[in-house]
């Protein structure tokens, strides 16, 4: 939590236009309604950069990261699969198909302001069902088969999104946005889309923390200890998909966050989901925040897509997990 606060402040101060640390704080301080504006000496531009551009972007990053971290922990827990995450399961791409379709063809307000996350959630859920269908053979789902199915569907849907973007007017930036994710050009409105989903998803998953602990022992063990297995699976999968859809609707597909974060947290605090779930939310926020800060400043004033940064960090980690699994050193879950 403390680390998250420090990260937010640090990241606020870093950016392509140089505003000093003290100024950032001063500006924020003066935004509080009960503070007297008398000694305000900052330009309107500086104030706008801090409050409109950076602060909203940073908060959005934290929320998106929290959603993805949580979704990853949820998927890993309920599928008992250490390689699962919204990206490797194809759920992110599935959500992006729905969201991209609405935005590119101008239907984003058909059902009011919730249209995009809602449709993203529907297409994300359908994708998850498709992946399960592909992966299931004789009633069992092998860990690697599931991920393979996820990757196949994910690349197909990625191509589909690119195709849709090509048919619309503004091309390259949009493709990049939907395939690699970005937090650029986002506003407070996007924060309000993600926040409610997180407010629903976080307590939901925390409530199922102990149930997910018992899942580690196997579904049969969990059932014998009094867990309604099918209901738990359904709720946790839906909750995780909802969180993914919310994140994807505003930031495109950002890969590997849900994979890396729960594993790092697990290394720190052990396998107990009652700790793992809330800490994955916080950890996801920190991870995205720093990834996005790198994305903003590494080649400033140009931006690197956020998904590029997370993939550069996450894909080697994924390979490492796969390698350890192959060597038979289990105990991730």
């Amino acid at each position: 939590m403390l680390l998250l606060a420090v990260s937010i402040v640090g990241s606020l101060s870093i950016g392509s236009s140089t505003i000093s640390f003290a100024d950032v704080w001063g500006i924020l301080w003066h935004q509080l309604p009960w503070i007297d504006d008398a000694d305000s000496h900052w330009s309107a531009g500086e104030i706008a950069i801090v409050t409109q551009v950076r602060l909203s972007r940073i908060l959005l990053g934290v929320l998106v990261g929290a959603c993805l971290g949580l979704a990853g922990a949820g998927f890993q827990g309920v599928l008992r699969n250490p390689l699962a995450d919204p990206y490797t399961l194809g759920v992110s791409s599935g959500s992006s198909v729905g969201a991209a379709f609405l935005i590119l063809f101008g239907y984003q307000a058909v059902l009011g302001e919730w249209t995009i996350p809602l449709i993203a959630f529907v297409t994300g859920t359908l994708t998850l069902l498709g992946v399960f269908f592909l992966a299931r053979s004789r009633g069992v789902m092998q860990i690697e088969t599931l991920i393979l199915s996820g990757v196949i569907i994910q690349s197909f849907l990625g191509a589909f999104v690119s195709f849709m973007v090509s048919m619309s007017d503004d091309v390259i930036n949009q493709i990049l946005f939907w395939l690699m994710g970005s937090l650029a050009m986002k506003s407070w409105a996007d924060v309000y889309v993600v926040l409610p989903c997180l407010v629903i998803g976080l307590p939901l998953l925390i409530a199922y923390g102990q149930a997910l602990n018992l899942f580690v022992l196997g579904e049969r063990h969990a059932a014998h200890l009094g867990i309604r297995v099918e209901r738990t699976k359904l709720i946790v999968l839906i909750g995780s998909t909802l969180l993914t859809a919310a994140a994807v609707s505003v930031s495109g597909v950002i890969g590997f966050v849900g994979l890396v974060v729960p594993h790092l947290i697990r290394l720190m605090v052990g396998p107990d989901y009652r700790l793992l779930i809330p800490l994955s939310a916080i950890g996801g926020g920190i991870f995205i925040l720093w990834s996005d800060t790198i994305a903003r400043i590494a080649l400033a004033p140009k931006e690197i897509p956020l998904g590029v940064v997370t993939a550069l960090l996450g894909a080697p980690f994924f390979a490492y997990l796969l390698y350890r699994r192959k060597k038979g050193q289990e105990g991730f879950l």
Binding site: Q210, L217, G218, L225, E330
Partner: protein, 269 residues
């Protein structure tokens, strides 16, 4: 304790169990035996409530199975599965504590402190020294002991054992069943065990139920049930039955086909 009335179970359209009716008396160890694929494990899953019968009824302590909530059922009935626990990153103590889940509310709290109960279970399974070890650092036999300690902490009235000795060597098999029987006698529990090994079943069970072709071939005490004729009928093999020199219970000696026996015998001569 458990009453099964005209219960049938179909799996993938094929009738596995047909029209079973039997009662299992409280305070006894009941063994279920029968050849491979006869539906022993299916029957146990039906008794545990995770599987529902296609028709007929199962009741536990006078209450129909579907009328129990999952947690209420888990407070009365615990299951020790074949093969025990998977390797996981939890410590032995954490896993044993999970046995308290049916008694916990949504926040994972319980009214009374149960740590002495957990200490006792760890101690009686000889796991105190291992209590901070992770499950994935234990052997299969040790993991099966952890699973049994978890079942003890669950404080059930009925325990179902699904081929609990499958992956254990004979030393652990006897140790496990001795522990179960001692605990069963102290608390007056009802135990239902699916067992592969007829001799173990005979040594440890008060009552034996023999499944054959989807129905019940025989029930009764080991002495009543285990005879050469039944084994020939159910397992299609010849066996000699002898009396155990210490306990007097019947023990099954297997024998190869007739001609070979004679040939071997002549060679020795």
């Amino acid at each position: 304790m458990i009453s099964v009335q005209r219960m049938s179970k179909k799996v993938n359209g094929r009738a596995v169990l047909e029209n079973l009716s039997f009662d299992l008396a409280p305070g006894c160890i009941h063994g279920i035996i029968g050849p491979n694929g006869v539906g022993k494990s299916t029957l146990l899953q039906l008794l545990s409530g995770v599987m529902k019968p296609s028709s007929g009824e199962i009741s536990l302590a006078g209450v129909n199975m579907p009328d129990y909530s999952r947690k209420a059922l888990a407070r009365r009935l615990a299951v020790l599965q074949q093969g025990g626990l998977p390797p996981a990153g939890f410590t032995v103590r954490q896993v044993v504590e999970m046995g308290r889940f049916p008694y916990q509310n949504w926040f994972g709290d319980e009214r009374e402190d149960h740590s002495s109960l957990i200490d006792f279970a760890l101690d009686s399974m000889g796991l105190t020294e291992l209590s901070n070890r992770q499950l994935d650092q234990l052997s299969g036999g040790e993991r099966q002991r952890v699973a049994l300690a978890k079942v003890m902490v669950q404080e059930p009235e009925v325990i179902l054992l699904d081929e609990p000795t499958t992956y254990l060597d004979i030393g652990y098999q006897v140790q496990l069943l001795d522990t179960v029987r001692q605990w069963q006698r102290e608390r007056g529990l009802t135990v239902v065990a699916v067992l592969h090994d007829l001799n173990l079943a005979s040594l440890y069970c008060d009552q034996i139920l023999v499944l054959h072709q989807g129905g019940i071939a025989a029930t009764g005490s080991p002495a009543e049930v285990l005879n050469a004729a039944l084994i020939r009928e159910v397992y299609q093999t010849e066996a000699s039955i002898v009396s155990h020199p210490l306990t007097g219970t019947p023990q099954v000696l297997l024998q190869p086909k007739k001609q070979e026996t004679v040939r071997l015998f002549e060679k020795v001569k």
